[in-house]
Symmetry: C2
Subunit: 467 residues, 2 copies
C-alpha cells in the first residue's frame, strides 16, 4: 500500500454524498459503516476526543432510514464532526481539559439544527484547550497530524475539526473562530474555513472563549458544501444576545481590495510570499481590483492579543483556574491569567481605538466588496511552536485576529502550495452580512459554480423559543 | 411689574422668529439687541459661563445682514446657546471647571453647522461639572433657577442650556445627553429635549463624559423647532468613529408601548404618579397602545450608574485629577475616582448583561414603534440634592439612564403639571434611527403638525473631511 500524497482528501463532498444517497447508490448505513471503518483504521490520531462509536453511527443511520420522507432533509445521512466546545446532549464537553468536562443535557442549537436536517454526528474533535491557541499543540488529547506532513502543526484551536475534514473522514465540521481558530487550521490543512458574520449561528451551548467575539465557524472541502451547511445552521436564536439575521446579498462582479504587496508580512517566509502573490494574481479574473490599506486590519488585530479582550477568557475560567490550575495546560493558564492585568479603563481605551479602526474599515466597503489577505503569514512545525509557544501563535493570527473585532465575515480558501510543498491560503474578508459575497468570491477562485444567493432555502428558519 | 407666572416662556419660537425675519418685521440686529437686553436684565443668573456679549451679538447680526442671500439659510438670525463642553473657537471651554479650561482653535462641527446655517451664538451655558450629574448643582458658576421656582433644581448636567431655552432667552440650545443630561433638565423646566440616535450628531470637539455613550442633544420649546435644529446638525462625520447616517422614517399611526402603571416608580411622589397617568391617558389618541415590560429598561439603566462605565470618565479625567484634584467639585471627583475600582473582567461581565438586555428590548420593536415612560420619577429641591447628592441624582436618572446603553433615541415632552405645580414630562423612546418617529409622537401629544419626514432638507449634508 502506497501512502496517500500529502494534502487534503479528494474524498466525497457533501453534495456527492447527498446525490449518491438520493440516487440510491449508497445508504446512510453504508456511509456510517465506512466512517466507522475509517476511524478504526486510523486509530487514535489525536483528531477526536469523543466519538459516538460504530454502534452509535449505525443506530443513527438505521433510524434515518426508518423514518419516512426523512430523505427530503437537506443533510440526510451526511456525517459531520463537532469541535468539543459545543454541547451535544449525553456526550462529554471537555474543551480539551478532562478536569473541566461535563455532560450537557441539551444539544447546542448549531448542532441540533444539523441533526434535525438529517446529518449524522461522528464525534467531538480535539482543540487547543479552552479554544485558546491557533496552533493545535495545546491539548492533552494529542496533536492531530497536519495532512501535509513535514511535522507541521495542524493549526488551532479547531485542530481536530480541520483534520477530520481534510483527511476525508467527514465532508463537513463545526468549529469556532474567535481570533482565527477556524480559519488558521483550515489554511494549514488545505480546506475551506468560513467564519460567518458574528451572530449568524447561535453560540448557545458553546464553551465561551471571548463571548463578545465568539463565532461558530464551518469547515468543508468546497464552497458548495460550506453553503449547504450555512443554509442549515444560520438562524436567529432569541437565546443568543448577539444573534443576527442572515442577509442574502450577491454582487455580480465583486470589487476586490488588495493591500500593497510590499506591506504584507510573511515573517521571512519567501516561498509563502511567492505563493501568495501567485495566488492573488487570479483575482482580477474574479472582479475589479483596487488597493486598500493594510494597517487598520493589522492594528485592530494587535488589539486582540495585546489588549484587554483576554479578560473575557478570565471571566469565563477564573473560578476553574482557582480550584484546578494544575489541570490546565500551563501555556493556556498563563495566557488566561494575563487578563487580570487589565483595568476597566484599559478596556474602554482599547474599545475607543477599535471604534476608530472599525470606522476606518467600514468606509472601505464603499469602495470594495471584499478584501483579500493571506490567511496565515507562514507555517510552523510542532517543534517550532513548542519552542516558542506565544511568539509563533501570535504570528499565526497576524491576519485573522481582526476579523471579529472589526465585525467582518471571512472565508479561508486553499490557494495552492509553496514551492516547498506547504499550504497557501487566501482569506476573503467582507463586512458583516456579506457572507454570500465572500463565498461567491471563494467559488470563483476555486472554479466552482456561483450559487444565486437570493432564494431562502427551507432550512433557514428561526430557532424556536423553548420553555 | 408683576412676576411672570412660573413655567417656561411662551416667547417666540425659532419658526416665529424666522417668519418675522423673512417678512421683514424684525432684523437679526433687532433680535440680537433684544437678547443682549434680556441678558443684561437678568444679570448673572448662573445660566451662562461665557457669553459673546452685546458687541459680539450685534457684530454677528450685522455680518449676517451684510451677506447677500444669507437670509436663505435655514437658521438665519436665530440666537442659540451651547453647553460649555462643546468647543467654540476663541471662547474658553470650561466644562464648568475653571482650572480645566482651554481656548480651542476649532469649533465643534455641531456648533459650526448651526453657525453655517446662519444662527447667532449667544454663549456657553452652565452644567454639572464634566457633565457628571443630572441635577444642576455641581458647578462653581452657580445653580440656574428652575423656571417653576419653588427651590427646584434646574436638572443637569445641561442646566444652563435648559434654563436659557425655558426662560425664552433663546429658542434653541445644544446640550449633551449621556445618562439623561439633556432630557432631565428639559423635563424639570417644561421644555423639549431630544436625545437623538447616538452618532447622528458629531461629538467631535466635545469634552467627553463616557465617549462610547455621549450624545449631543437638542433643546427647544416645540417639536417643529427641534426638527429644524436636527435637520441642520445631523450629519455624518468621518472624524467621529461613532458617526451614523440619519434615517428618515415615519409611521402613520405609531404603535405605543406602555409598561404596567403599577410597575412605574415615582419614589413616593403621588402627585407625579397622578400627573403621569393623566398625561399618558392621551396616548391612545396618538396610536394603538399595548403593554411592554419595564424591567429591561430599568435593569440596563442600573448598569450605567452602578457599573463600570464610570471608568470612561476616569479615562478622560485621570490626568487632570492627578494634578488638580482640589479644583474639581468634591462630589464629581469622588464619582470619577470610583472608576478605578473596576477591572476589565467587570466591564465584559457588564457588557454581556447589557447585550442580553439590549436583545430583549430590540425584540420589543417588532411589537411597538415607541415606548413611553416618565422622563423623571420625581423632582427635587436644591436643598434636597445638596443633602443627598448621590441618592437624588441616581433617582433622577431612573428612566433616562438606559437610553444610550440600549442604543435608543428619546424625546422628553412637557406633559402638564402636578396638582402642586411641578412639571411632568413624558419620555418617548424609540430604537436607533427612529428619531423622526419619536418626534412625530411628541408632535401629536402637543397638538403640533406632524411633519412628513420623507424629504431630505438642504442642510443634511455630510461633514467634509478637512485636511
Amino acid at each position: 500500500m502506497v501512502d496517500a500524497p500529502p494534502g487534503p482528501s479528494a474524498g466525497p463532498s457533501l453534495s456527492t454524498l447527498l446525490t449518491a444517497l438520493r440516487e440510491g447508490t449508497t445508504t446512510p448505513r453504508r456511509i456510517a459503516a465506512e466512517v466507522a471503518d475509517d476511524l478504526a483504521r486510523r486509530g487514535d490520531d489525536g483528531v477526536w476526543i469523543t466519538t459516538v462509536g460504530r454502534d452509535g453511527l449505525l443506530a443513527r443511520a438505521a433510524h434515518l432510514e426508518s423514518v419516512p420522507d426523512l430523505d427530503r432533509l437537506p443533510l440526510f445521512g451526511v456525517p459531520f464532526a463537532v469541535k468539543d466546545t459545543l454541547d451535544v446532549a449525553g456526550l462529554p464537553t471537555t474543551a480539551a481539559c478532562p478536569a473541566y468536562a461535563y455532560v450537557p443535557g441539551t444539544t447546542a442549537p448549531a448542532v441540533a439544527q444539523l441533526l434535525e436536517a438529517g446529518a449524522v454526528l461522528v464525534g467531538k474533535t480535539n482543540l487547543d484547550q479552552f479554544a485558546t491557541g491557533l496552533n493545535g499543540t495545546r491539548s492533552p488529547y494529542g496533536v492531530p497530524a497536519n495532512v501535509f506532513g513535514r511535522g507541521l502543526i495542524p493549526g488551532g484551536s479547531s485542530s481536530g475539526s480541520a483534520v477530520a475534514v481534510a483527511t476525508g473522514v467527514v465532508p463537513v465540521a463545526l468549529a469556532t473562530d474567535t481570533a482565527g481558530s477556524g480559519r488558521v487550521p483550515a489554511a494549514l490543512n488545505g480546506i475551506l474555513g468560513l467564519k460567518p458574520t458574528r451572530g449568524l449561528i447561535s453560540t448557545v451551548g458553546l464553551v465561551p472563549a471571548c463571548r463578545s467575539l465568539d463565532c461558530v465557524s464551518l469547515m468543508a472541502r468546497s464552497v458548495a458544501d460550506l453553503r449547504s451547511l450555512l443554509d442549515v445552521v444560520a438562524a436567529v436564536d432569541p437565546a443568543d444576545p448577539w444573534s443576527r439575521r442572515r442577509q442574502r446579498r450577491s454582487v455580480p462582479a465583486p470589487r476586490i481590495g488588495l493591500p500593497p504587496a510590499g506591506d504584507l508580512e510573511f515573517l521571512g517566509d519567501e516561498p509563502m510570499r511567492r505563493a501568495h502573490l501567485a495566488a492573488r494574481a487570479a483575482l482580477p479574473s474574479v472582479g475589479p481590483v483596487s488597493e486598500v490599506p493594510l494597517a487598520p486590519f493589522l492594528r485592530a488585530g494587535e488589539l486582540l492579543y495585546q489588549g484587554p479582550w483576554v479578560a473575557e477568557r478570565l471571566l469565563q475560567f477564573a473560578d476553574f483556574l482557582a480550584t484546578d490550575r494544575d489541570a490546565v495546560h500551563p501555556v493556556v493558564a498563563g495566557i488566561i491569567e494575563g487578563g487580570a492585568a487589565y483595568s476597566a479603563v484599559d478596556v474602554f481605551r482599547a474599545q475607543y481605538r477599535l471604534a476608530e479602526l472599525r470606522a476606518e474599515v467600514d468606509r472601505l466597503w464603499a469602495e470594495v466588496d471584499v478584501v483579500v489577505l493571506p490567511t496565515i503569514p507562514t507555517t510552523f512545525t510542532v517543534a517550532e511552536v513548542l519552542a516558542d509557544p506565544i511568539g509563533t501563535n501570535t504570528a499565526l493570527g497576524t491576519y485573522t485576529h481582526c476579523g471579529n473585532l472589526l465585525d467582518l465575515c471571512a472565508v479561508a480558501v486553499p490557494a495552492g502550495l509553496t514551492e516547498d510543498g506547504r499550504p497557501c491560503s487566501l482569506m476573503v474578508l467582507g463586512p458583516a452580512g456579506a457572507d454570500d459575497v465572500v463565498l461567491d468570491v471563494a467559488a470563483r477562485l476555486l472554479g466552482e459554480a456561483v450559487t444565486p444567493a437570493a432564494a431562502a432555502p427551507p432550512g433557514s428558519t428561526d430557532i424556536a423559543v423553548v420553555g
